[in-house]
């Protein structure tokens, strides 16, 4: 007879899983809207963040244009969908919202493919700078294309409806006792589920054949090519996947905002995504998710509790703004994480001899200090 008793480890895991499921189902009904919103925004950002992590960490292509691909997804969805009664929106195609959402992700991927034709010829930092050009030009185009984006005033976002069930406060109204399931609560279920699925998918790709090929070309394009890896093919594939994820993140973020303005999709947003990836450790998908929650959540939390934190002032009051303080922290964490992850410790010790006269380099064998 075999024992039905579970091992200690398994029962802890089972308990944790049950807790997670319960939290997933119940929290949007009981948590204050602020926290539900925070999780929705963070989860949407996390989806885009893991796409960027895949691009930077797995295939070694630095991109500062991630916010642009998110914008492509968000605006494609807004344009292809339909806002009843027009709303403050420009030109609409009027497709059913689910179709519009899927199409938006595909469009984002196609734009990524197009850009990868440009970037195929570029290596390393030139690619990063090209992406910088893309995000700057893209930001300008978004502000200027009034009929598509509503200019600086932005446009409303169509509500997602799947088979009659709307991800909004109404349509239908849902009450569980005295707790109402608002639109943002329904989006909680959606974004977290999508995050889980897309995380699992990406992890499989990264650990599969394509991922290995991309790791090879990340470490050395020439060596990978010499070993038979189709470098341009995999670089393009990485870009397509990454921009699809960015587009998906963009659609979900748009759904959460309900109204999008072009100035949101700026270089600063791209830099925040870069920070998310770095903070989580550039080679880790899970890290990117954690980074997304931290970078999205911290400014919101600080703003919300600015009153109780003595060193912060409310936005506009002239004191230390929570948003600025959060940026400061992110920049510092990026620096610290990079040093911890990549530093040659001997170099760190030598570098710390800042106070001593600079005779250090002459005591090295020339070959040892070759790169600096």
């Amino acid at each position: 007879m075999f024992s039905l008793a579970l091992s200690r480890q398994k029962s802890v895991l089972l308990g944790a899983a049950a807790l997670a499921v319960a939290a997933y189902v119940l929290l949007p009904l009981v948590l204050p809207v602020f926290w539900v919103q925070l999780v929705v925004f963070a989860a949407a950002a996390a989806i885009a963040a893991i796409g960027l992590q895949f691009l930077i960490g797995t295939s070694g292509q630095l991109s500062l244009a991630h916010s642009f691909f998110m914008a492509v997804g968000a605006y494609s969805y807004a344009v292809l969908g339909k806002v009843p009664g027009g709303g403050s929106s420009g030109w609409q195609v009027g497709l059913p919202s689910l179709l519009a959402a899927v199409a938006a992700v595909v469009i984002a991927g196609l734009v990524g493919l197009l850009f990868s034709f440009v970037s195929a010829r570029l290596g390393g930092l030139y690619l990063g700078l090209a992406s910088l050009g893309l995000v700057m030009i893209g930001a300008h185009v978004l502000t200027v294309a009034h009929s598509l984006t509503g200019g600086v005033y932005g446009r409303d976002v169509p509500v997602l409806t799947v088979g009659g069930f709307g991800f909004s406060d109404t349509d239908p109204e849902l009450w569980f006792g005295t707790h109402q399931l608002l639109g943002i609560g329904r989006l909680w279920y959606l974004t977290l589920a999508v995050l889980l699925i897309s995380y699992w998918l990406l992890r499989n790709v990264a650990h599969g054949r394509a991922g290995r090929a991309m790791n090879a070309l990340r470490d050395s394009e020439s060596a990978a090519a010499a070993a038979g890896v189709r470098v341009q093919h995999y670089k393009a594939l990485a870009y397509v996947i990454s921009s699809c994820y960015a587009g998906l993140g963009g659609v979900l973020t748009a759904l959460a905002f309900q109204h999008i303005v072009p100035t949101y999709f700026s270089l600063t947003l791209s830099l925040n995504f870069l920070a998310m990836v770095v903070i989580g450790g550039m080679r880790s998908i899970t890290g990117a998710v954690v980074g997304a929650f931290v970078v999205t959540g911290l400014p919101l939390v600080l703003s919300n509790y600015a009153g109780s934190l003595p060193f912060l002032g409310a936005p506009g009051s002239g004191g230390l703004e929570p948003g600025v303080f959060a940026q400061f922290i992110f920049g510092a964490v990026v620096i610290v994480v990079l040093i911890l992850q990549w530093a040659d410790l001997r170099g760190l010790r030598r570098g710390l001899r800042v106070l001593l006269p600079a005779r250090t380099s002459s005591t090295d064998a020339p070959l040892a200090s070759i790169n600096r």
Binding site: I56, G60, L62, V118, R121, L122, G123, G124, L125, Y126, G128, L129, A130, L132, G133, L134, M136, I137, H140, V144, E221, S222, V231, L267, L271, L274, A275, V278, L320, E321, V324, F325, Q327, F328, F330, G331, A332, V334, I335, L338, I339, W342, A343, D344, G347, L348, R350, G351, L352, V354, A358, T360, S361, S362, P366, L367, S369, I370, N371, R372
Partner: protein
């Protein structure tokens, strides 16, 4: 015609000041192979230090002290953060500089807030009449000082031993090291020059007719990137040509805004970026840069 001349002179003056920014950026790249994403915030740091110090040591003194302080800051940055990363892939130091930029911008934004800080420069808001064209006196001074500073740098680059080592290292780091170039000193020198140039450029960029130093000023320096690419990331002359081109494009772009209205308002600001993308497609190494050796 006078407006054309006006745009031209203005474009040249602003372009040469941009040239200082780009030169600093390129010097750092040549000496260390690091893309200094924080060039813009060094610019603001220099201008801010000048504003804060001008009360105690006068304008010129403040500029000099700001140059020294910023250069020292850059050297510490190099030794503390960048030298430990020298074995890492090339992306990593660049991302670290993004982090530095984020920190600097956040701190300087906190300090400047919504103020508009002005300099007590001796040229104030005087204009000079050059044959019918009104040019701000400070812009003319910027032109002259830029030429002097650039000439001084080029002379140092050519005639001093550290300049020789820098040129050798820019050409081929490994061989230069084997031939006796002290790469540590080369990188320190590159950062000192880069930081100093950023300060001078920063000060000139916030003088009249610009309203003054605001939290947003670092975004001006972002045009250094297209300028550097257009000219060639590793070329000193390319930096100057790139800066001039960007300044001229901007000046003519906003001057003739009505002709290019179809591109939208503020199109003058993205023309440099479009030019950059075109250059990247046709000749990635820029007008004066050198071809990389690997082709796949």
């Amino acid at each position: 015609m006078t407006s054309f001349l006006g745009y031209l002179v203005n474009g040249l003056s602003v372009g040469l000041t941009y040239g200082l920014v780009v030169l600093g950026f390129v010097v750092i790249y040549r000496g260390t192979r690091v893309i200094n994403f924080a060039q813009g915030s060094l610019l603001v740091l220099g201008a801010y230090l000048t504003v804060r110090l001008q009360g105690s040591v006068g304008f010129i003194g403040a500029v000099l002290v700001a140059v020294v302080l910023t250069a020292a800051f850059c050297v510490v940055l190099n030794r503390l953060f960048l030298r430990p990363l020298r074995k890492a892939p090339q992306d990593i130091p660049a991302i670290l500089m993004i982090g530095v930029d984020i920190v600097l911008v956040a701190d300087l934004t906190r300090r400047i807030g919504s103020d508009v800080l002005t300099m007590n420069d001796p040229w104030g808001s005087h204009n000079v009449d050059l044959g019918g064209v009104l040019i701000a006196q400070s812009r003319l001074v910027a032109l002259v000082v830029s030429i002097v500073v650039i000439a001084a740098f080029l002379a140092a680059n050519k005639y001093t031993s550290i300049g020789l080592s820098s040129r050798a290292a820019a050409e081929d780091r490994e061989t230069a090291a084997l031939m006796g170039a002290r790469l540590g000193r080369v990188s320190d020198f590159a950062w000192i020059c880069g930081g100093g140039l950023a300060v001078i450029a920063g000060v000139f960029l916030v003088l009249y007719p610009s309203p003054g130093l605001v939290s947003d000023t670092n975004t001006v320096a972002i045009l250094a990137f297209p300028a550097a690419i257009i000219g060639g990331l590793d070329s000193v002359w390319g930096a100057l040509v790139g800066g001039l081109l960007v300044g001229l494009v901007q000046s003519f772009g906003s001057g003739y805004q009505s002709q290019i209205d179809f591109l939208g308002a503020g199109a003058a600001d993205i023309l440099p970026w479009i030019l950059m993308v075109v250059v990247l497609l046709i000749k990635p190494t820029g007008l004066f840069g050198k071809q990389p050796l690997t082709r796949i």
